[in-house]
Symmetry: C2
Subunit: 182 residues, 2 copies
């Protein structure tokens, strides 16, 4: 009796994780989608007009001024759309736990999207850092000294995007564990 109970104990947790992992995957995808959407919206609507102006120049900062921020909004939007579409495949994995090829496809797509998101977040972070600190060697002035509110918005936006980057790492790890359970 003791002998027969041992394999039962070993098999059951494995079966349970096989069920639980796709559900965690599904939930993480939703959180990551919200995170990237928030980042894209927060950056896309960031604008500040200073309360003074000359006859010809209006002092205004919008995200389109910097191509890197346009790339950031684009990459976050693309990744958000991908995450929403991938919910269908993730749901399919909850229902049919034996699908293998679709899981490998998902690892590939997740890795590509992880790369795209990380690129957008890191590039924007480099520019935000420059906006805050400037660079005396290159004679680049820290624009945050004027555009304080604008800088707060874009900093928060980049932080949200980095949260999604960490969630993507978890997604890839979850997929690898799921595949190993076959």
């Amino acid at each position: 009796m003791k002998v027969s109970s041992v394999p039962k104990d070993v098999v059951e947790p494995s079966k349970r994780t096989k069920r639980v992992l796709p559900v965690i995957d599904f939930l993480v995808r939703i959180v990551a989608a919200i995170s990237t959407l928030g980042s894209a919206l927060s950056m896309g609507t960031a604008r500040e007009t200073l309360p003074f102006r000359t006859q010809f120049v209006k002092f205004r900062a919008v995200f389109e001024d910097l191509p890197t921020f346009v790339f950031f909004v684009l990459s976050n939007s693309i990744v958000c759309a991908y995450l929403l579409l991938s919910l269908a495949l993730s749901f399919f994995h909850i229902v049919s736990s034996s699908a293998l090829k679709s899981r490998i496809l998902m690892v590939l797509l997740d890795t590509i999207m992880f790369g795209l998101l990380t690129m957008g977040a890191a590039a924007a972070a480099a520019i935000v850092f420059l906006a805050h600190r400037g660079n005396p060697s290159a004679n680049w002035f820290p624009i945050c000294q004027q555009y304080n509110y604008f800088c707060q918005r874009i900093s928060g936006s980049v932080i949200g995007s980095f949260m999604a980057v960490i969630l993507f790492m978890i997604l890839i790890l979850l997929s690898a564990i799921s595949i190993s359970k076959h």
Copy 2:
């Protein structure tokens, strides 16, 4: 006879890929290590002194002037060291094709290093783009107009790093396929 030959055909390529995949993994790691090492060295030794000077100012560009480039050199060096160390684990996977937990650990480490490398490359790319084109809205001057040779070096360095990023995507995909063969 025909019936017995079918499963044989199905099994053999699977066994062969089980052997071939770790070897490809090993070779890709070597190429990626060379690529990151080259990028780190190329960026780390990039310096240019302009042929004119004033009494007090010497016009000189080195990578340490920009914190993003320091991060780039650091991230490429760390990833290169990781790739060299991971060769041992990769070799172990060639010898023992049944190791599963170590493969999952490798996917996790690869994903983290992929993220680190992508961050360094994308952040440096954002600054290199700025150095080439400048930004009139933020009054950031394109320093490449003066430091031509310096800019060529850092651009090449970033391209090398992005090659390693693509190789990392292949590594993660290879690991996922390897794990699925169990």
